[in-house]
Amino acid sequence: MSTPAFLTLDQVHKTYTLKTMFGAAKHIHALRDISFSLQKGEALALVGESGSGKSTCGRAVAGMFQIDSGEIRVEGKPIATAHSSQEKRENARKVQMVFQDPFASLNPTHTVRHHLERPLKLHKRVPEGQTLEDALFRTLADVELDPAATLDKFPHELSGGQRQRINLARALAVGAELIIADEPTSMLDVSIRRSILNLMKRLKEERGITFLYITHDLATAHYLTENTAVMFGGRIVEFGPSDQIVRAPQHDYSKLLLSSVPNARTKIDADFEHARDFSKFADQVRQATAASAAPLASIGEGRMMRG
């Protein structure tokens, strides 16, 4: 690697402790030994089921909580050592999040204008010689929305897809360089998913924006990203180029995930006697994956797997 990575995670650990009223405290290993790096303008998918730690990983990168050990670096600088408010603000500007629920992530009592004006003013992102209005129009045009028609609308007047565009616009408004997109299309209709993915793809290719894309859908991960990390139980179980992971997954859990993606051309086995075979198989794979503490080892060019 000649250029330093835009984002680096180095043996990141995070454990949550649940204190129950009786008995011993329970430890939840949300992130275990997470290491990867991401080049500027590239996209990495974190794929896994609920509770695999994929969202926790995204939120750790956004600096939403302190990690227990390890290091997260943005452009080579550890985010944990940013102390001055200027440094913190700079990190916040560079790394932005887009959340899953477009209905909950915008304030229902404010217009689109309010949602975009505040970040523009706070981060002083209005270029000299331009008015605030110009900057607002430009930001909305970037996400393919009609500025004049959208600016003074309230969130409830917009569709889910339009709201998700506003969330992307809000990230762009402050000049985000890394966007952490946490299941940005999973609450949208299938019919508009691709258009949001295409927008992210365009931002990546034309603007050089780096994406950390969190999803449980391998098909969309393959569509948008160069690399995919499959996560289970707080660990990365397989890492590699997305098309290779989709074409030839190596880890049993990756295979399970892939085989679960609906494929219109294959009918499922409807026999009642076999109905639970898949569940049993899935449970076995989950248990075996959870039990294994084998380290990530290289299995070829750019590919790694936990043995």
Partner: protein
């Protein structure tokens, strides 16, 4: 063929009363489901597919009104039922698995109490009999009956979904309407639930109206698929035809809207 039709809907129209006058959400819809058949109903949010589901069971509430058409289930005119007949008919003949079924359970009742509620009201049978039936159903969907005394929050999402399915089966209905039964679930759990539904359908032979916006998922399981756009059914055909030879532009658009593994990389 018509004698095989378990559900037959003709010219169904549903209006929502708004301040600007009536809004027609379902426009002259014809559809039928044969005995033991799985019909998929696909379309995007707001196209009227859930409105149809509610109207079929007459669960729609004002401002929604059925303003035209007929609904015939097993030879009976559903729109002519009085309230008492309707109450008896619902769940015993046709049951419903709601959208976001994970939240369809009452959080302050145990799983068993939710079963007993339905069973007692419809059959008048004792708690012991309800217990026996509930245990049988739990085994049927692959959950240890000991979990009957748990509250919904103590079960995982997939288990709750299975409980909701079991509850829909309690009176052995001949048609189950499933409104986005797997939408809030992970892909792996979604597949598990789909297998479960398919297995139960094969075992008991009930008909299913399967509503979702995920065409690929539906195609894995449905016998026929109806595509809905803005209150109208624009295409109905055998699943194989909808997959390999879609006729309507909107059906093609729906297929195109989903990234699949066949997509060449870098094509925007």
């Amino acid at each position: 063929m018509s004698e095989d039709r378990f559900l037959d809907v003709k010219g169904l129209e549903v209006d929502y009363m708004t301040l600007d006058g009536p809004f027609r959400a379902v426009k002259t819809v014809d559809l039928h489901i044969n005995k033991g058949e799985v019909l998929g109903l696909a379309g995007e949010s707001g196209c009227g597919k859930s409105t149809i589901a509610y109207a079929l069971m007459r669960l729609h509430r004002p401002p929604a009104f059925i303003s035209g058409g007929s609904i015939t289930v097993d030879g009976e005119d559903v729109l002519a039922f009085d309230d008492e007949t309707l109450n008896q008919w619902r769940w015993s003949k046709v049951s419903l698995v709601f959208q976001s079924a994970m939240n369809a359970l009452n959080p302050v009742l145990t799983i068993f109490e939710q079963f007993r509620d339905v069973y007692h009201r419809h059959t008048g049978k004792s708690t012991a009999e309800a217990r026996a039936r509930a245990e049988e159903l739990m085994r049927l969907v692959g959950i240890d009956p000991i979990r009957l005394d748990d509250y919904p929050h103590q079960l995982s999402g997939g288990m709750r979904q299975r409980v909701v399915l079991a509850n829909a089966l309690i009176l052995e209905p001949q048609l189950i309407i499933m409104d986005e039964p797997t939408t809030a679930l992970d892909v792996v759990v979604q597949r598990e639930i789909l297998q479960e539904i398919a297995g139960l359908q094969q075992k008991f032979g009930f008909s299913i109206l399967f509503i979702t916006h995920d065409l690929a998922l539906m195609a894995q399981f449905a016998d026929r698929i109806a595509i809905m756009l803005e209150g109208e059914i624009v295409e109905v055909n055998e699943t194989q035809e909808i997959v390999t030879n879609p006729q309507h532009d909107y059906t093609k658009k729906l297929w195109d809207a989903m990234p699949s593994f066949d997509d060449a990389k870098g094509v925007a």
